[in-house]
């Protein structure tokens, strides 16, 4: 299909189908749509937008149509992305199913697994969470001890996960379990199971931001059918690493700051500066000017990375660089916004501060360089796998 024709048609469709409310900038986490069995829509427009996009397969434009995707080429996907950005349209669905599990299932899943799970992910019917981290393992992800014992037709899972994002709101979990205690990396398997199974309980973790997006998750004799194993037995680490690359891509997007193209513009509002005068804090302005350079350059990097990824030209460890750079940038962004916000931004629950929105977002951003592999881990990976630096 001719690309310019596709662009014209896409633009027209988006303009006709994206509700006006869904073109407003995202103000807080509450504006995101996560779907799932217990989906909560903030407005009819939000639900409508999800349904319309899902019908075309455009929640996952480059997945095959057989699995609920849009079946678009890399070039078409890019055009769609650009047109969505140009319209300022919100993402119709936020989903770990899309950003993490989906790519892994497409690569490692059986045909049955793909047909069962992918379309529900695409339509936002099932909300997924990720069972990777364990207490005491930290950056050494493979040091996990949640056991899955072979009981003939099922695995019996016992153990504990931590940092499970929204485990208390998720319908299913993709989970790393130990199936061979004598091996480290080669004794791990990758399982999918329903969070409504018997023996699962979750406990939210109270964060410094005052929010609790993460849980501790406990498994007590949870039965998981054998057909829910993804990839080979004891080869789950390979699936996990592939998936982590996709997680890093997603997290690296944090640096983009929700389409806000200049931090100085954003800050001017926060600092109550008259529109026609320079930011009257010259040192903050200087920091913002350099930040805007880096943020714009990183937007170009993100475009380049996606293009190279689609073309199979990206270095396999490049997601580590994206994750590192994007998250560090996002932390700086929130630090600068706090500076611009001054004493108002210190308020924790006032109405004027939007319930401490700036402060909570600032504190939340500190986790960016920890979750999904710390910055230190990413730098180790870059040094070893891209730069070829020796180990001692």
């Amino acid at each position: 299909m001719d690309l310019e024709k596709f662009r014209t048609e896409t633009r027209a469709w988006l303009q006709a189908n994206c509700p006006a409310e869904m073109r407003e900038p995202v103000r807080s986490d509450a504006d995101y749509c996560w779907g799932g069995r217990r989906a909560v829509f903030s407005s009819p427009a939000q639900q409508q937008w999800l349904q319309r996009m899902a019908e075309r397969g455009w929640t996952v434009p480059d997945w095959p149509t057989a699995y609920g995707g849009g079946g678009l080429s890399a070039a078409e996907t890019k055009v769609l992305r650009e047109e969505i950005a140009a319209l300022g349209a919100r993402q119709p669905l936020k989903s770990f199913g899309i950003s993490m599990l989906g790519p892994a299932l497409l690569k490692y899943g059986t045909e049955a697994q793909k047909r069962e799970h992918l379309p529900r992910i695409a339509r936002g019917e099932i909300r997924w969470c990720q069972g990777y981290s364990e207490p005491g393992a930290g950056s050494d992800l493979a040091a996990l001890s949640t056991r899955a014992e072979d009981r003939g037709d099922h695995f019996l899972v016992n153990g504990q996960k931590v940092w499970t994002s929204y485990a208390d709101k998720a319908d299913w979990i993709f989970c790393l379990v130990r199936t061979d205690p004598k091996e480290k990396h080669k004794g791990i398997s990758f399982l999918l199971f329903d969070m409504e199974s018997n023996g699962i309980s979750t406990r939210p973790i109270q964060l410094i931001s005052g929010q609790s997006p993460f849980c501790e998750t406990f498994f007590d004799d949870v039965k998981v059918p054998k057909e829910n194993l993804v990839g080979e037995l004891n080869r789950g680490w390979e699936v996990a690493k592939y998936l982590l690359g996709h997680e890093r891509e997603m997290i690296s997007g944090f640096g983009l700051g929700d389409g806000q193209s200049s931090i100085g513009k954003a800050a001017r509002q926060a600092a109550e500066t008259a529109p026609d005068e320079r930011l009257d804090d010259p040192l903050l302005r200087a920091q913002m000017a350099v930040f805007d350079v880096r943020a714009a350059a990183f937007r170009a990097m993100t475009e380049r990375f996606i293009d190279e990824l689609k073309a199979g030209r990206a270095h396999p460890a490049q997601p580590s660089m994206m994750k590192y750079y994007g998250t560090e940038l996002n932390k700086i962004r929130h630090t600068l916004l706090m500076s611009a916000g001054g004493s108002d931004a210190l308020e924790w629950d006032s109405t004027r501060s939007g319930g401490g929105a700036a402060a909570r977002a600032w504190l939340r951003s500190k986790a960016n360089s920890i979750e999904g592999g710390t910055s230190e881990i990413q730098l180790n990976i870059i040094a070893k796998h891209i730069l070829g630096l020796p180990t001692a």
């Binding site: 981290s133 931590v162 964060l207 410094i208 040192l283 210190l346 924790w348 500190k366």
Partner: protein, 378 residues
């Protein structure tokens, strides 16, 4: 005078340190916070501060105080910072006490004894915008009878909702942003027309918006000269900035200490996290920043105590540098803690929050460095 604590000061530091660790540790902050305490600090603890003589550190001996200096006040503040102790010490024992040093005997006699005995706490109402610009005063004071009538708003007033006396900067002449035409007033906390709306901040402290609607004060509520209050205000700000800098050093030092303790013990990949060279270098850099900040703070305190000309410049350096060190300590602290550093169960996040409030108080690093550059003629 050598640039380290003398023997008397070390005795005082040791006593403040054990007192605070014992009576006012981070657990104390947590219990006040979790109870959503409406005062913002423990009045019982403040009584014990008073018993230790802390509220009178800067009050002259002739007025019944300890007649000590900014070095000694800083000793207490560093321990407050180290333990994240909610306390009106800075606003009352440094801010208001310094302001009253320029007041009439009548005002001093009214407030010094009350502060010394713990009957009164006080605060400063300086800022009107969301960033610190002490010359940006729109709050008006108009002659009214023998006194003045004050109308306007102030923000970010620490303990403003429970203060017995509030030092208010007002405009009696000149335009907003001008340094002439500024007058300081000591206003009763329960004066008619004064409303304080407290807001919980991210560090669980309470700061107020103050509204003054035709608040009437007597002529002798004026501190310093009418229209000529800028110099007095500058002196008060010097004292408060040095104090906030000292507290920041305490925050930074404790944040580093708990982080070092954590990475010495925490193991990953079979070794202590603290054995990784990349973390070691960052920790060593952080240590250097904090040491340099500590030196700058002590220098500023000594120069203030010596009433050295140009000490205000040392104060700018001290608070700006302490802000750099404390924000680095918090950033590195949370990152080096990893995931648990993001949880409310660990203390490191509390240091990050308190550091952020202190950074904003009386001017952040950017503002103060900008001012220093101006004084340096560029």
């Amino acid at each position: 005078m050598p640039l380290y604590l003398d023997d008397d000061q070390i005795i005082m530091r040791d006593s403040a340190r054990s007192f605070m660790a014992d009576q006012a540790s981070v657990a104390h902050l947590r219990s006040l916070r979790d109870a959503a305490d409406p005062t913002g600090f423990s009045t019982d603890l403040w009584k014990r501060f008073v018993e230790m003589g802390f509220s009178g550190i800067l009050i002259p001996e002739a007025d019944g105080g300890m007649g000590l200096g900014h070095v000694e006040a800083g000793i207490v503040l560093e321990e407050i910072g180290r333990n994240l102790t909610p306390s009106p010490f800075l606003s009352t024992g440094v801010g208001v006490v310094t302001a009253l040093g320029s007041a009439t005997p009548m005002l001093r006699e009214r407030w010094y004894p009350a502060i010394l005995t713990g009957r009164a706490i006080g605060t400063l109402a300086i800022d009107e915008g969301t960033k610190h610009h002490p010359e940006r005063i729109a709050l008006k004071a108009e002659r009214s009878g023998k006194g003045f009538r004050l109308s306007g708003e102030k923000r970010f007033v620490q303990h403003g909702h429970v203060a017995d006396v509030v030092i208010v900067s007002a405009r009696t002449g000149g335009d907003v942003d001008e340094r002439s035409g500024v007058t300081l007033f000591a206003v009763d906390g329960n004066a008619a027309g004064l409303t304080a709306t407290p807001q919980r901040l991210l560090d669980a402290s309470l700061a107020s918006r103050l509204t003054l609607e035709g608040v009437e004060v007597e002529a002798d509520a004026v501190i310093g000269e009418v229209d000529g209050g800028w110099d007095t205000l500058s002196g008060i700000l010097d004292a408060c900035r040095a104090a906030a800098a000292a507290e920041l050093v305490g925050v930074a030092d404790a944040a580093m200490a708990i982080t070092l303790a954590y990475i010495r013990e925490r193991r990953q990949f079979g070794v202590p996290v603290g054995s990784f060279q990349a973390l070691q270098h960052r920790a060593a850099h952080l240590y250097s920043e904090i040491e340099v900040a500590r030196a700058a703070v002590l220098k500023a305190q000594q120069r203030l105590d010596a009433k050295a000309p140009g000490a205000g410049r040392d104060v700018l350096v001290a608070k700006a540098m302490a802000g750099l060190a404390a924000s680095l300590a918090a950033r590195e602290g949370v990152q080096m803690h990893g995931g648990v550093g993001m949880t409310d169960d660990y203390d490191i996040g509390l240091y990050m929050k308190r550091g952020r409030v202190l950074e904003e108080l009386f001017g952040d690093t950017n503002r103060l460095a900008d001012r220093l550059a101006q004084l340096n003629g560029y």
